[in-house]
C-alpha cells in the first residue's frame, strides 16, 4: 500500500474538518497550482488552543497530515503548538512516502501561519524569524511553477 493504516484512517475519517467562524487565528499555506492548500482555524482562550478546524485541497496525505496536525495541537498551549514539527506529524502517522513529506511540512506551516495571525491580531510580540518568511525550501518547491 502507498500509505500506512494511520494515514488512511485520517484520510478516510479526517478529524476537525470545517471552519471556525469567529476564529482567533487563521492560516492558509500552499498553492492550488501545486495541488495542495491547507487552511487552519484556531480558537484560543487564555493561551490555550481550545478548538481547531481545517480545510484542505489536496491529496490523501495532505488531508491526513492536516487532520493529524489538528489532533496534535488541540488543547495545547500556543507555545507548544508552535513547536510542532513536520517530523512529529509524520511519526504520528506511522510514516509517509518520501515524495509526500512536503505535505507534513505544509501542515506544520499551516499551524504556524494561524498562530502568527493570532499574534498579529492580538498585538503579541514575536521574533519574525520564528515564522516562515516565504523563503524556505518548502515554499521554493511550491513556487517553481510560477
Amino acid at each position: 500500500m502507498l500509505y500506512s493504516e494511520k494515514v488512511m484512517d485520517h484520510f478516510r475519517n479526517p478529524r476537525n474538518v470545517g471552519e471556525i467562524a469567529d476564529a482567533d487565528g487563521v492560516g492558509e499555506v500552499g498553492n492550488a497550482k501545486c495541488g495542495d492548500i491547507m487552511k487552519m482555524y484556531l480558537k484560543i482562550e487564555d493561551g490555550v488552543i481550545v478548538d481547531v478546524k481545517f480545510e484542505t485541497f489536496g491529496c490523501g496525505s495532505a488531508i491526513a497530515t492536516s487532520s493529524m496536525a489538528t489532533e496534535l495541537i488541540k488543547g495545547k498551549k500556543v507555545e507548544e503548538a508552535l513547536s510542532l514539527t513536520n517530523q512529529a506529524v509524520v511519526e504520528a502517522l506511522d510514516g509517509l512516502p518520501a515524495h509526500k513529506i512536503h505535505c507534513s511540512v505544509l501542515a506544520e506551516e499551516a499551524v504556524r501561519a494561524a498562530i502568527k495571525d493570532y499574534y498579529d491580531k492580538n498585538g503579541i510580540a514575536y521574533e519574525p524569524d520564528q515564522f516562515c518568511t516565504g523563503d524556505c525550501a518548502c515554499c521554493h518547491e511550491h513556487d517553481h511553477h510560477e
Binding site: F11, E28, A32, G35, I37, G58, C59, G60, I63, H145
Partner: protein, 399 residues
C-alpha cells in the same frame, strides 16, 4: 478486496482474458522448446511463434516478416525512435518531430536524443487534444529523420489523424512511427492504408499478458538492433523469445479484432452515458474531443478538488480509476497532456480518468456516476479552494 471492484482503468492495463491464459498455459505445456533449437521441441516452438507472428501481422495489415516481438510498447517505442534517429543521423538528418501529448516512452526517448545532439520539435495539439496535420507538415524539414505521432492518446483518448499525417510523411519521404498502444485491438488499423512505416503495440492493453509487445517495421525500412547477442527476430532483438506471453498476446489480439466492432459499440455507449452523467456535476469539464475519442475513454476535470484523494475514495467505494494529478505521478507537475490541451495546473490536478471496455456494464456506469458525484461533493466541502470559488474570491476556470 472484500467486494467486487468495478474496474475502470483499462487504459492502464486489462485483465488477461481466459483464452489468453489458456494459450499461455498451453505454450508452457507444449511449446517449451527453444525456437532456435533444431530438434523437434524447438521446431514446434518455432512454428507456434510463426503462427503468432502471422496473427499479429494480420491484425494491422502487415506482413509477418515486418513484425518484431518486443517486451512491450515502451521497448518498441524506444527501438523505433532511436533506430530512425541514428539512421537519419548517418545521412546528416538530426531533426525529430513528435507531439506534446505522447506517452513518456516516446517523449523521454526524444529527450535523451536531444541530449545527444538531436533537435526535437514538439507539435502542439488543439484544446480537444488533436494535432493538426498542417502543423506536422509545416514542421518537416530537409533534415527531419522521423515523425512520431500516437494513434490515440492514453489519457484523454483523442484519436489523431494518422492516415493524413502518414500521407504527408510519405510525400516528403520522412519515416513515420505510430505509438498505437492504446488503439491496437480497439480501432481498425491498416499500416498500408494509413501510411505507417513503424508501429508499436502492447499485449496487455487488449486483454493479453504484459511482457509482450511488438514493433512493426515496413519492409525495407531500416531497424537497428537494440539488444545484441542472438539471431532472434531477424537479428534485431536478441534473447530467447517469451513464447507464452507472445502466444497469449496473439490469442487476445485475434479475439479483440474479431469482436472489435461490437466491443467498441458497447464501450462507446457506456462512455457516452458516463460523460453525460459526470457532466451534471457543476464546474466539471470533459477532457479531449467528444467524438474523436477511444470507445471506452472518459476523462474529466473537477474544479476545487485534487485527483489523488478522489481516486482513493473511489477505490474505497469499489471503483478502480486513474488521475493525472501530480500526486499520483510522484512529481510536482500534473499531466503533460492536460497542460497541453490548455488546462491550468490547479484544474489539471483535479482530473479523473475512467476507461471502460466490453466487460463493463450500464450498472457500472450508474454506480460510477453516483460514487463520483458523492466523492466530488465531499471533497469540495473540505476544500478551501472550492469555498473561495463559491465566495467569489477566486474565479472559476471551468464554468
Amino acid at each position: 478486496m472484500e467486494h467486487a471492484m468495478i474496474y475502470a482503468d483499462n487504459a492502464a492495463t486489462t485483465k488477461t482474458s481466459a483464452a489468453a491464459r489458456r494459450a499461455m498455459l498451453d505454450a508452457m505445456e507444449r511449446f517449451w522448446g527453444n525456437p532456435s533449437s533444431l530438434h523437434s521441441p524447438g521446431q514446434q516452438a518455432k512454428e507456434a511463434l510463426q503462427t503468432a507472428r502471422d496473427t499479429v501481422a494480420k491484425a494491422i495489415g502487415a506482413q509477418p516478416r515486418e513484425i518484431y516481438f518486443t517486451s512491450g510498447g515502451s521497448e518498441a517505442d524506444n527501438q523505433a525512435i532511436v533506430s530512425a534517429a541514428k539512421t537519419g543521423a548517418r545521412k546528416g538528418k538530426k531533426h525529430l518531430i513528435t507531439t506534446a501529448i505522447e506517452h513518456h516512452a516516446v517523449l523521454h526517448t526524444m529527450d535523451q536524443l536531444s541530449k545527444e545532439g538531436f533537435e526535437v520539435t514538439l507539435v502542439p495539439v488543439d484544446a480537444s487534444g488533436i494535432v493538426k496535420v498542417e502543423d506536422v507538415a509545416a514542421s518537416i524539414r530537409e533534415d527531419t529523420a522521423l515523425v512520431s505521432v500516437m494513434f490515440a492518446n492514453n489519457e484523454i483518448g483523442a484519436i489523431q489523424p494518422i492516415a493524413e499525417i502518414g500521407a504527408v510523411c510519405r510525400e516528403k519521404n520522412v519515416p513515420f512511427h505510430v505509438d498505437a498502444v492504446q488503439a491496437v485491438g480497439h480501432l481498425p488499423i491498416d499500416v498500408s492504408a494509413q501510411n505507417i512505416d513503424m508501429l508499436s503495440l502492447s499485449g496487455h492493453k487488449f486483454h493479453g499478458p504484459r511482457g509482450a509487445g511488438a514493433l512493426y517495421v515496413r519492409r525495407g525500412a531500416p531497424l537497428l538492433t537494440f539488444i545484441h547477442g542472438g539471431a532472434q527476430e531477424a537479428g534485431r532483438r536478441a534473447g530467447t523469445e517469451n513464447l507464452p506471453a507472445i502466444l497469449g498476446m496473439a490469442t487476445a489480439l485475434e479475439d479483440s479484432c474479431a469482436h472489435m466492432e461490437e466491443n467498441a459499440a458497447h464501450a462507446a455507449k457506456l462512455r457516452d452515458a458516463l460523460i453525460d452523467g459526470l457532466s451534471k456535476i457543476p464546474h466539471s469539464a470533459l477532457n479531449g474531443d467528444r467524438e474523436r475519442r477511444l470507445p471506452g475513454n472518459v476523462n474529466f476535470c473537477f474544479e476545487g478538488i485534487e485527483g489523488e484523494s478522489l481516486l482513493l475514495l473511489l477505490d474505497d467505494k469499489g471503483i478502480a480509476a486513474s488521475s493525472g494529478s501530480a500526486c499520483t505521478s510522484g512529481s510536482l507537475d500534473p499531466s503533460h497532456v492536460l497542460l497541453a490541451i490548455g488546462r491550468p495546473h490547479e484544474v489539471a490536478h483535479g482530473s479523473l480518468r475512467l476507461t471502460l471496455d466490453q466487460e463493463n456494464t450500464m450498472e457500472d456506469v450508474e454506480a460510477i456516476i453516483k460514487a463520483t458525484t458523492e466523492v466530488v461533493n465531499y471533497l469540495r466541502d473540505m476544500s478551501p479552494v472550492w469555498k473561495a470559488l463559491q465566495r467569489g474570491e477566486r474565479n472559476y476556470v471551468i464554468q
